[in-house]
């Protein structure tokens, strides 16, 4: 039906006889439509094209990848951005043109519909949220959601702004804070999409809607719009959403995770601003997160390396090794618990310190050794550091002894099997987060205050002379 076709490397656009443009997402050399730099540039170019062509009466966006509308940014790409050493301002500068293109699309004056043929995750869902209408294939096992928080990030393509403006803050926050993705039926009931249709009817349904709604605009671009349920400090849900909501986040993360805090602030601040300013606010928060350590740790250990390890396990490899690693780390933490009690650390202090760094499972044992009066100078900060350092030193010994070949093996096992706090990325990533040099200084300080168990090995000191990290590639080099 296309009477005219315009093609870029990663998207192509055809305009039919009635002036309806079909924009097909098809990222080159990838199985999924991920947000490569090339894709983002091409998408921006396509939006420019649409804006310039006033004869286009409406736009349908769909995908040629089976089962995938778009899965947003690629985690390895994001990790690479972090490790390139880019500043937060640089990240913001990269992000903003795409955010502006989505904003231009929703304000182009023509109806724009997304025909979602499968997964719409992260940036993929955000792209569709910038459309005026979303029809989703109902016969798929599609997942719809904004899972960025799991990577230590937030949706940086307008997701923290458009989702609450669409469905209300009390409905949007749980999705943003958990990263939970939903199936088509729930996506419909939550109001993430407008309609479900069989896969082979979604483009037709989108086309029908576009032709029938020639004056489409986003609700937030219509005069008199207010966020459903209200926004800001005086909204009736504000105490629950932001007061209790913050308390819950702080309890669950012990302030170790910057992403949920940034999401709360982004939603609180952004929903009180005009959309353009709100998107800038979101981009700032996103950029600060991506250049921070926790996003690096979560991306590297959980998003990039863990799938590799899990695949190896499914193939029957490594099971013995992972069990050994878990048991060594577990024993190191048990030993630390006993050592702290023996030194006279009050059990409540020791437990609180362990909980506060995110060691949820430890220490739980009772029957503690009789403790003697402790050193009153020990601070909770020392104890928090002691817990993580005890595990990190045992992890470093595993590396020193050649039990593991590369840090990632150990970090993944620690986080997956031992619930080692994900914000650290694992005990070896924790060392890299401090920097090897600072880690050794911390060991020496703890050695003086808590005991010789914290004295680092000669091997580790030698490593510190060579480099400031245990991972081979860390900021400034690419993966």
């Amino acid at each position: 039906m296309g009477m005219e076709i315009q093609t870029w490397d990663n998207v192509r656009l055809s305009v039919d006889a009635e002036g309806v443009a079909l924009l097909v997402l098809d990222v080159a050399e990838r199985n999924a439509n991920v947000f490569t730099a090339g894709f983002m540039a091409d998408f921006c170019a396509a939006v420019d094209f649409i804006r310039a062509r006033t004869d286009i009466r409406g736009v349908i966006i769909t995908s040629d990848k089976p089962g995938c509308f778009s899965s947003g940014a690629d985690h390895a790409d994001l990790l690479q951005v972090h490790e390139s050493g880019m500043s937060a301002l640089d990240v913001q500068a990269i992000l903003m043109p795409f955010a502006r293109a989505l904003r231009a699309l929703e304000q182009c004056g023509r109806p724009v519909a997304a025909a979602i043929n499968g997964d719409a995750l992260g940036g993929g869902l955000e792209l569709s949220l910038a459309c005026h209408y979303r029809v989703l294939a109902d016969n798929s096992e599609a997942l719809i959601g904004l899972p960025e928080v799991r990577a230590g990030l937030l949706p940086g393509g307008g997701g923290t702004q458009r989702l609450p403006r669409l469905i209300g803050i009390p409905q949007a926050l749980p999705l943003l804070l958990s990263g939970r993705c939903v199936a088509p039926q729930e996506a419909l009931s939550l109001g993430l999409v407008h309609a479900l249709k069989p896969l082979d009817e979604i483009v037709r349904a989108a086309r029908h809607w576009v032709l029938a709604n020639q004056h489409a605009a986003q609700p937030w671009d219509v005069k008199g719009y207010t966020v459903p349920g209200g926004a800001g400090a005086m909204a009736s849900h504000a105490l629950k959403s932001f007061g209790l909501g913050l308390a819950r986040v702080r309890m669950e993360t012990h302030d170790n995770e910057p992403a949920p805090l940034a999401i709360l602030s982004c939603v609180y601040e952004g929903t009180q601003l005009p959309m353009d300013r709100a998107l800038t606010c979101e981009a700032r928060h996103f950029s600060a997160l991506l250049t921070g350590h926790v996003a690096r740790n979560r991306l590297r250990t959980l998003m990039v390396n863990a799938p590799r390890v899990l695949q190896a396990r499914r193939e029957g490899h490594r099971t013995d090794l992972d069990a050994l690693l878990a048991s060594r780390l577990s024993k190191a933490l048990d030993d630390e618990w006993r050592a702290q009690l023996a030194e006279g650390v009050p059990p409540a202090m020791s437990r609180n310190a362990a909980r506060q760094v995110g060691l949820a499972r430890l220490p739980e044992r009772d029957g503690a050794p009789a403790h003697r009066p402790g050193d009153g100078n020990l601070s909770i900060d020392d104890l928090r550091a002691a817990w993580l350092t005890a595990a990190a030193l045992e992890a470093a010994r595993c590396l020193e002894e050649g039990v593991v070949d590369e840090p990632a093996q150990l970090d993944v096992a620690a986080v997956l099997d031992l619930d080692f706090p994900a914000w650290t990325g694992g005990p070896l990533s924790y060392i890299d987060t401090l920097g090897l040099g600072h880690f050794i200084e911390q060991c020496e300080r703890l050695g003086v205050r808590l005991g010789s168990r914290f004295v680092p090995s000669r091997w580790l000191r030698a490593r510190a002379v060579e480099a400031d990290a245990l991972y081979a590639h860390s900021r400034k080099e690419t993966v």
């Binding site: 400090a233 909204a235 105490l239 913050l246 308390a247 709360l264 601040e269 609180n352």
Partner: protein, 401 residues
């Protein structure tokens, strides 16, 4: 500094702060206008003698917003020449309006000032003002507003107090309040609230439960356990990591009652007394505010009381009667323990646990209660103090003249 005298005070009875409370139908403007006109009517002075009027209002929004004091002054028939302001420092607000009056009179900027406060908690609910400390996540992550009941439980945990001690205090508050009520100790300063047809809506403090027993209170569930479990306990344990847990001991029975009410206090210089033909009843010796650790929230009265006593060169033993606001039972209990004050000098006519705590008005009510009781017992000195959220407190020392 000029001497500052307290000449008079009146208050409304305190009505239960809920839809079936007797004052629920009375707007906060009417509550405030009632005490302002009542204060004037008692000795019929010329309102043009008043230089400034301030009322404490902790939720200064909705019908308590827009500077309710000026509206209430006009409603009360005061001279149009008198300006009014509202003030909010949480629970110390009314005492802070008295402090402002002292500053103006003491410095010679005013001859006569009215302080006081108003709060219709049944109509303008607590927490409806959307403060940044409980809504803006960027603020709350560093300086969270800890719900005061959870802070009270922290205070009790740190002090090693047990539920039975808090409940026993509450039973005594009820007993003292009921005794005072029955013997008319409050009546000389109470203004009955009248309806449109002149019939009284309420003539006494409505929330008192005279027959409360320890067994009754023991049956009540901890009121702040759920809030603590929602995250606040964890935030507090980060500041107080030596605690294994927060013991949730406060209930609706050993915490202050939610009520509606208003109060007004007339202060002035000696010259004002001559002009208006009024006899001063007490002289303010010291009044000041301060703050302590914000998460503990309720620990301010002790350091601020010490500072106030030091300011006027007095010692704890020089004070005959104390009014220590019963926001929660733990506050007066810790106060007595830390300051070394005997229970028979503190809140002798009961307190907010029995009588209720209309947030913006309580500071002035306590001042009035203490003054009436000093006169009844023919004693001389009283110290009034309240804690306010985020660690703040105000204390006032006065002496009969």
């Amino acid at each position: 500094m000029n001497d500052v005298y307290v000449y008079d005070h009146v208050r409304t009875p305190r009505g239960k702060g809920r839809p079936d409370g007797a004052l629920h139908e009375v707007t906060p403007v009417r509550l405030a206008a009632c005490v302002l006109s009542g204060l004037q009517a008692r000795q019929a002075w010329d309102t043009d003698l008043i230089d400034e009027v301030g009322l404490g209002v902790v939720m200064p929004v909705g019908e308590q917003g827009a500077d309710i004091t000026r509206t209430a002054l006009l409603e009360a028939g005061y001279s149009e020449a008198i300006a009014g302001y509202q003030l909010n420092r949480f629970c110390t607000s009314a005492l802070d309006t008295v402090k402002m009056g002292c500053a103006l009179i003491g410095s010679g900027q005013a001859e006569a000032v009215i302080g006081g406060g108003v709060e219709s908690m049944s109509r303008v609910p607590i927490g409806c003002d959307g403060g940044a400390s409980y809504t803006d996540p960027a603020v709350g992550r560093r300086h969270p507003y800890i719900p005061n009941g959870v802070a009270a439980d922290l205070m009790a945990t740190r002090a090693g107090l047990e539920r039975a001690e808090l409940d026993a205090y509450a039973v005594e508050s009820q007993r003292r309040a009921a005794h005072a009520q029955a013997h008319g100790h409050f009546s000389q300063s109470l203004l009955p609230l009248l309806d449109l047809l002149g019939q009284p809506l309420l003539q006494h403090d409505e929330a008192v439960r005279p027959r409360t027993t320890l067994a009754d209170l023991a049956r009540l569930k901890p009121a702040f356990e759920a809030l603590g479990a929602a995250g606040y306990d964890d935030i507090l344990l980060r500041r107080y990591p030596e605690l294994a847990a927060i013991a949730h001991l406060h209930t609706s029975g050993n915490s202050s009652a939610i009520v509606d009410g208003a109060c007004a206090v007339l202060m002035g210089s000696a010259a004002f007394g001559h002009k208006a033909g009024l006899r001063p009843r007490a002289r303010v010796r010291a009044v000041l505010s301060g703050a302590s650790e914000p998460l503990l929230s309720l620990g301010g009265p002790m350091p601020v009381s010490r500072k106030a006593l030091q300011r006027c060169g007095m010692r704890v033993a020089d004070i005959d009667l104390f009014e220590v606001n019963e926001a929660f039972a733990v506050v007066p209990l810790c106060y007595m323990r830390e300051m070394g004050v005997e229970a028979d000098k503190v809140n002798v006519n009961g307190g907010a646990i029995a009588l209720g705590h209309p947030l913006g008005a309580t500071g002035a009510i306590l001042l009035g209660t203490a003054l009436d009781e000093l006169e009844r017992r023919d004693l001389n000195t009283a110290l009034i103090t309240l804690c306010a959220a985020a660690g703040q407190a105000t204390a006032l020392v006065m002496e009969r003249v």
